[in-house]
């Protein structure tokens, strides 16, 4: 969608939504069901509902009244007595996990949106710059070196550093004379990604069983055991990075009409690219360092929302974030409870539940395009 140019050559009109609609053929391409602001409100409502449901339902069945009581008492800092087991399960185990899932879903979806916009490529995702793989390599190196025993935060830090270093490497490979060629960037990202994957696979052969298990847990993407500290470490980075990306959304809109046109319209193209990439690496790195590699959310959720709300990044970025948070919270809820006590990998659920819905949206869109 964003890759097709069609009549967009003309003017990807400054901030006038109608102009952009004309430019990108949004009306015909997207299933705009409501005004963007209404949709954002609806998404926020869905997110709130998802948090409530995911906190109320879990592996261990607790009375809903008790759950509500724990959350109320702890949030408001009341001095009412609580059943200690309930308190621990809800407040120390379940709620932080739900919120961590929300923050991670938000982060990945926002970054996916930004990457798809920047690359004008529907296959782009937060992983496309190799950031996730680089983060994974950093984390695995930390695990192999025995850092988890030294300090539990060393591995996430290593992942974060790995993600940022990967971005710098990929960016340097694709930049000549201050101009970054997007096609080269894409290829460099894929290549560096594969290389990091191969190094990780190579390490499998030289580590002990216990270490191997830890690596596998990490690589499969994991939301269990997430605590308030994880949320507290991630949330500011994700919030700041997402806000930054949102501030760049007008430039992203203009970039979609082509670099030359954007430059003509006064966008500092190379600066925008650098910032979008750096912020994406920051946000993805924060999510990946805490939860490992959780695929699919950053690829599909932006598309879902683009179909619902159109490609204007000013609306699309917050909508994707809210949608991604809701989606990952619900996927994790299903993963925890569908076959309880068997706990599925969240990634299995994101793909199984998300793909059919996405295909349904795609199919409906084609119909509309044909009829219009």
């Amino acid at each position: 969608m964003s890759a097709t140019r069609g009549p967009a050559e003309a003017v990807p009109g400054a901030d006038a939504t109608p102009v952009e609609e004309a430019a990108f053929g949004i009306r015909s391409a997207a299933l705009i069901v409501a005004r963007p602001a209404t949709l954002i409100l609806a998404l926020a409502g869905m997110l709130a509902a998802a948090v409530v449901v995911a906190t109320a339902v879990g592996t261990v069945r607790l009375p809903y009244g008790e759950t509500a009581r724990v959350v109320l008492v702890k949030t408001l800092g009341l001095a009412w007595p609580l059943e200690p087991t309930y308190e621990t399960i809800i407040w120390s185990v379940r709620l932080p996990r739900v919120l961590a899932a929300g923050v991670i879903g938000f982060a990945l979806a926002v970054c996916g949106t930004a990457m798809q916009g920047l690359f004008k490529n529907p296959l782009a995702s937060p992983d496309i710059l190799g950031v996730s793989s680089g983060g994974a390599l950093g984390a695995v190196a930390g695990i192999v070196l025995g850092w988890p025993l030294v300090n539990p935060w060393l591995v996430p830090t290593a992942a974060f550093v790995g993600a940022l270093v990967t971005l710098v490497v990929v960016y340097a490979l694709a930049t000549r004379d201050g101009r970054t060629d997007m096609a080269t960037l894409l290829l460099a990202g894929v290549a560096v990604s594969s290389f990091a994957g191969a190094v990780i696979a190579l390490l499998y052969h030289f580590v002990e069983d216990g270490v191997l298990r830890q690596i596998v847990y990490w690589l499969m993407g994991n939301l269990s055991g997430k605590r308030w500290e994880h949320v507290a470490v991630m949330a500011p980075l994700v919030a700041a990075g997402s806000l930054g990306l949102w501030l760049l959304s007008r430039d992203l809109n203009l970039l979609m009409g082509g670099e030359d046109d954007a430059r003509a319209l006064g966008v500092s193209v190379e600066r925008t690219k650098r910032w979008v990439m750096a912020l994406t690496a920051l946000v993805t790195g924060a999510a990946v360092s805490v939860a490992g590699v959780i695929g699919f959310v950053g690829l599909i959720v932006p598309h879902m929302l683009r179909l619902l709300i159109g490609p204007d990044h000013r609306w699309l970025i917050p909508a994707s974030g809210l949608g991604g948070a809701t989606f990952l919270i619900l996927a994790d809820l299903l993963a925890r409870t569908a076959f309880s006590p068997v706990e599925l990998r969240t990634g299995i659920v994101t793909a199984l539940a998300g793909v059919p819905f996405f295909l349904y949206l795609l199919a409906r869109r084609r119909e509309m395009v044909r009829w219009s």
Binding site: G58, T59, V60, T85, T88, I89, S92, V93, R94, P148, P152, H205, E208, D209, G210, R213, Q214, Y217, N222, S224, G225, K226, R227, P341, V342, E343
Partner: protein, 311 residues
Amino acid sequence: MHGFGVGRKPKASAPGLCVLAVVFGYLLAAATVLAAGGFPRTVVDELGQAIVLEQPPQRIISAGLAMDNILLSVTDPARVVGVTRFALDPAYSYVVDRVGDHMVIFDQLNAEQVLAAMPDIVLVTEWNDPDTVRQLRELGVQLYTFAGFDSVEDALDMVVRIGEITGDEERAQALVDEFRRRLDEVTGRVAGRSRPRVLYLDDWWGTAGPGLAFHDIIELAGGINVAAEHGLRGWQAIDPEALLAMNPDVIVTSTGPAWAEHLKGEPVVQAVRAGRTGRVYYVDYMGIHSHHYILAIELLARLLHPEAFQP
């Protein structure tokens, strides 16, 4: 207390120290008896962390298959409140009939389930999800971590340790003693016989060198581990062609009888001595880390040295 005494009397005579030690020993023994079977006691887990048990734990959770098997063999199942789902699977568990309805069945270590079961102690391994383990530790759940799982001796050590934790050290020691008695019987019979060269092979074409109990079982049953000869350590997948260079006399698998049959039909297996002589065996009890290894050693010894077990 001991260090204090010695430090204050650097010139104390040797006999004096001996008397002190004996008295101290008696006091300790008396205290042990008085305090209901040795509690409170301090146990040290395999990460070196000290755990104080005020009383024999009455609500114990096992978060690993090896601990499921050993714990339910050593202690009263009524005191076990959680096991892994593998404990219910006869393919992996020798204690299926001791799993009770009161127990929580874990798929993987789940913090909510653990907390809801209100355990006195949870037996975990390095294989459990590190984030969940850390979360439980920070929430004040008593954890005992097992590491290793790398040898037959480690399995016996686990039996002793679990006996220490539950206060069933007599039962644990009896299991270990029986293991050693039966092992002596096997080694006595296979001693001095020519040792066939044995290769372990699973359905990933993985083999096992030193650092895994498979290796110990092969050696204790009177074989030579071909993987060790070729310098392999731990679990390693091998190229089927490498089999030709290894040319084992016997191939053994714990994957299942069907896999043993399949291997017999593999061209590379048929090209080596084990395949030509039909010595490709499935041996049960090899894969689960527990005192049940003795059953595997006995089975394998009979296959490697049938003449040694003639009546």
